[in-house]
């Protein structure tokens, strides 16, 4: 323990003895009613939070999948980068149909 820590501990010991008298611990009048009213006024809150949590997780998973695919794609673009006309044609035809 260095000198500062030793002195700090003495100060903290003294500070603990001077804890200000806290205001009453009981809930203020109407506090519980107000909180419960707010909670009941937002019935979909848990659903919204569930959606928020799941959306964030899905976003993370999608980012990982996307990066993996990009990496795989970059690695597989080896020496032979020739296009595949049949596949391209099929995609082009499908696009026109849409």
């Amino acid at each position: 323990m260095n000198e500062f820590e030793r002195r700090w501990n003495m100060g903290v010991n003294s500070a603990r003895g001077a804890a200000s008298t806290p205001p009453g611990d009981a809930a203020p009048f109407g506090f519980a009613t107000r909180v419960v009213a707010q909670w009941q006024a937002q019935p979909d809150a848990s659903l919204a939070q569930l959606w928020q949590r799941l959306a964030l997780r899905v976003l993370g998973a999608m980012a990982i999948i996307l990066l993996s695919l990009a990496a795989y794609d970059a690695l597989s673009m080896g020496g032979d980068s020739s296009l595949q006309p049949p596949v391209e044609n099929a995609v082009a035809d499908s696009a026109w149909l849409l």
Binding site: R7, W8, V12, V36
Partner: protein, 197 residues
């Protein structure tokens, strides 16, 4: 019904069925626990009642998350929720206070000199001055450090207890406490330096 006589598990079951009366009883029963945590960790500019209200609203909306945790008393789960809510509020605080040597009262200056080693080894006797100076130095810390020092030094909680409350590992709590004390020493030295200029 007196607050201490509340059957919490039974009350929780009723709250899950949207029973408003049970919810009010639960808030009144748990208010002393929550307000104690809020008072110790709230940001300076935030009213303690507002933060307590935020904790209780989170408690109700996340009640389903508690259901699966067998063996953990509800009060522990709520304490952790209250601590993390306070920590989020501290993190959201735009800026931390800045203290100048001129802002300090005489007893605080005596303690500052003592902390920095400028004064003799005998500690000053003014306990209120100690509290003011200790709180000022803690308020200069980043939220995570502030939380650790308040729990560890002012509330005398054990490292394991802090680890359980915050979800941080034991070694992370120790490292944060060590770094926080070093930062406070630097802040104290900086403040003391202003006096010498």
């Amino acid at each position: 019904m007196p607050p201490d006589a509340l059957d919490v598990p039974a009350c929780l079951e009723r709250v899950r069925r949207q029973d408003g009366e049970a919810a009010r009883a639960l808030v009144e029963h748990l208010y002393p626990l929550v307000i104690k945590i809020v008072r110790a960790h709230r940001p300076r500019r935030m009213a303690e009642e507002d933060l307590a209200q935020e904790v209780f609203l989170k408690m109700f909306t996340r009640l389903e998350q508690y259901q699966g945790r067998e063996g953990v008393p509800f009060e522990h789960w709520l304490s952790r929720l209250a601590v993390t809510t306070c920590l989020d509020a501290l993190r959201a605080e735009k800026r931390r206070p800045e203290w100048r040597y001129a802002d300090l009262a005489d007893p605080e200056r005596e303690w500052l000199e003592f902390f920095t080693g400028e004064a003799p080894a005998a500690a000053p006797t003014d306990a209120m001055g100690a509290r003011e100076m200790v709180e000022k130095l803690i308020s200069l810390l980043p939220p995570d450090d502030r939380l650790v020092i308040t729990l560890l030094d002012l509330q005398e909680r054990s490292i394991a207890d802090i680890s359980a409350l915050t979800g941080w590992s034991v070694s992370l709590v120790k490292v944060r406490a060590f770094r926080a004390r070093r930062k406070m020493r630097d802040h104290a030295l900086k403040l003391q330096k202003e006096f010498k200029l």
